[in-house]
């Protein structure tokens, strides 16, 4: 159970330090929730003002890309949680494997997203592109909102992947049976997942039945 056993000077003991590290990450996640809260408020306002146009615009989104991405991210989140479980039960090898699998699925998520953006471009839905044409002003607004929201989310996905990779690369992290670094990286990753869990119905599921 190799781990850092000496607490930093401001902590009374190593347990307090671990608690502080975890609490710090949770407090940070609370701030991230409020950040995305503003995005959802914007969507809410758009939907309140133009309910029918919102539904119509949403029905033109690429439902299966969105659904696949949701499934991928949920699975990736599960793998991150498994990584924490593995590290906690002193199984560093599997902790590493779970982490890398989570990272892998995260990269697939980004790939699907990129493909979706590409198809959007081909459909003339990329705002600012030469071939952009929208059936209405609101369609254009919804498309802008979609790119802004998913773009911001993708940035956070990238950050989360960096955190997970850092944890996966560090031998001391994988061998830490308190799983502090892996645990914090996983917490961040779960937040990224939760944001997407709500972005998905906001963007893709508001549309009328097919």
């Amino acid at each position: 159970m190799a781990e850092q056993s000496r607490a930093e000077i401001q902590f009374h003991n190593i347990d307090r330090q671990r608690e502080a590290d975890r609490l710090g990450m949770l407090v940070f996640l609370a701030s991230e929730i409020m950040l995305f809260g503003g995005v959802f408020l914007a969507a809410f306002s758009l939907r309140m003002l133009s309910p029918d146009e919102y539904v119509s615009a949403s029905s033109h989104m690429k439902l299966w890309h969105g659904t696949a991405n949701t499934a991928i991210l949920l699975a990736s989140s599960m793998l991150a949680a498994l990584a924490v479980e593995m590290a906690s039960s002193s199984n560093p090898k599997w902790a590493g494997r779970c982490l890398w699998s989570a990272v892998g699925l995260g990269i697939v998520f980004l790939g699907v997203k990129a493909h979706e953006y590409y198809l959007d471009y081909l459909d003339g839905k990329l705002p600012g592109a030469a071939n952009a044409h929208f059936s209405s002003e609101f369609e254009q607004l919804f498309s802008n909102f979609y790119f802004t929201a998913t773009g911001l989310h993708a940035l956070h996905v990238t950050g989360g992947l960096a955190l997970l990779s850092t944890a996966a690369l560090r031998r001391s992290a994988r061998h830490d049976c308190h799983a502090i670094l892996i645990g914090n990286a996983a917490l961040y990753w779960h937040l990224v997942d939760i944001v997407w869990i709500f972005l998905y119905p906001t963007i893709y599921l508001a549309g009328a039945s097919a």
Partner: protein, 549 residues
Amino acid sequence: MTAAAIDTEREPEDIERTSYLRAGYSLRSWLLTTDHKRIAILYLISITFFFAIAAVAAALIRLELVTPEGDLLSHEGYNRAFSIHGIMMVWFFLIPSIPNTIGNFMIPLMIGARDLAFPRLNLLSWYIFMVAGLFALFVVLAGGVDTGWTFYTPLTTMYANGAVVATVLAVFISGFSTILTGLNFIVTIHKLRAPGMTWSRLPLFIWSHYAVSIIFVLATPVLAITLLLLAAERIFGIGVFDPSLGGDPLLFQHLFWFYSHPAVYIMVLPAMGVVSELVTSGAHKKIFGYWFVAYASIAIAVIAFLVWGHHMFVAGQSVLASTVFSFLSIAVAVPSAIKVYNWTATLYKGDIALDAPLLYAMGFIGLFVVGGLTGLMLAMLAIDVHVHDTYFVVAHFHYIMVGGSVAAFFGALHYWWPKMTGRLYNEVLGRIAALLMIIGFNLTFFPQFLLGYEGMPRRYHVYPPEFQVLHIFSTAGAGMLGVAYLMPMFYLLWSLRFGKRAPANPWGATGLEWTTSSPPPKHNFTEQPVVIREPYDYHLAHPRSRENG
């Protein structure tokens, strides 16, 4: 991170007792420090610099307003002056002022800890703040923006031709400094308290900073997303705030004020925490109603988030929503009023020493009451419709932020100066500066209530000649205020070199920070403090007065 001394001939205890100011003289030891005390000093220097810039803008405004014509500045120039004044003062002075200078320095000391929970994060916060400040400086040099500190759309997104994106970027970056500070404080207060330092024994300064940290963490990210959307709208025309695409300009105001109203409580809560300390120390008496004051801080932090719509009464918000916000805005005054009662009751029959810190604190109480009562007036929907966008509002918030928070900041600076620097300042000059500030402040801002009620609009530099007399009084007051702010700069700096050396507890105050030397050693305490006493357990029979020269 560097050792206190590489001196192997001295005893470890002696090294440990070395003041934090002597633990390294190089620039590196300051710029790469993780010592919360040094970081506090770094912040102090930075915010003083930004305060100076914002004060110059204020001087321009007040000089312009001496005459009814717009003869000093062009319309655009005047708009840029009040914009940069607001932006600099709010984000680069007031918000970091007490928390990042006094808070950074005192929180670990007050709870008996050796540093904050995340010292490196603390240093990062300062660097982020400096990067943001550099952007802000660039904005000033590039001519600034004319949008007001409130950045309303569609002016900012479509029509303004100043450095909007750079300004918004500067504020955006500064927000991260704030969030990380709040995170650090929350975890520190939860996890680093000394043995025996239960929640019921915490100084009220800590309660206030805990409350403000809640706002830091939960409100500031909303500012971040608001500014991000603003920039996206301006650069890419995404349309969330544009009615022609189906967006809503009022959405911007909802998002902006959801942060900015709690932001004003960010600016006042730490000041209230300071006042609790100054009043108990100045009266050598236990606080009246400890738990009322403690819970009032938390209540303020919570209710702060429920009132933002009172900035939008005439913006197109629905009447129902406005009514709800009006009612909630009246509610938010209650915990603040509770604190005022408790401070006053603490002073009553106390053993009062009218030193500069207490003078500043008493100034705070009086000026905050005026600001708070006029705030109640503004909370009433019908009154606000009459005085919205007039000088009445300007006077109200300056009473709180300047008469309140800045006064408390100066009070805190004086009170803890001996602890931070190990020197005593000249008390006579301190008292004069405090009184000058209170008088100058009232002369500056009370006429503005009258101006506003009579119809003088805010953000105008051309006005009907019948308003001139009151404007002249206001500008004269501003001059006095300027002197009152400059005086401490001189005698405080003078004391660094020539002031008498301060003992550990010059005020005879309670609190763990007074049990260690002035200035404290690098790791704050030579032995782990253990807390057995209740907070503010003063003995009226034997007050120890301040040793003074």
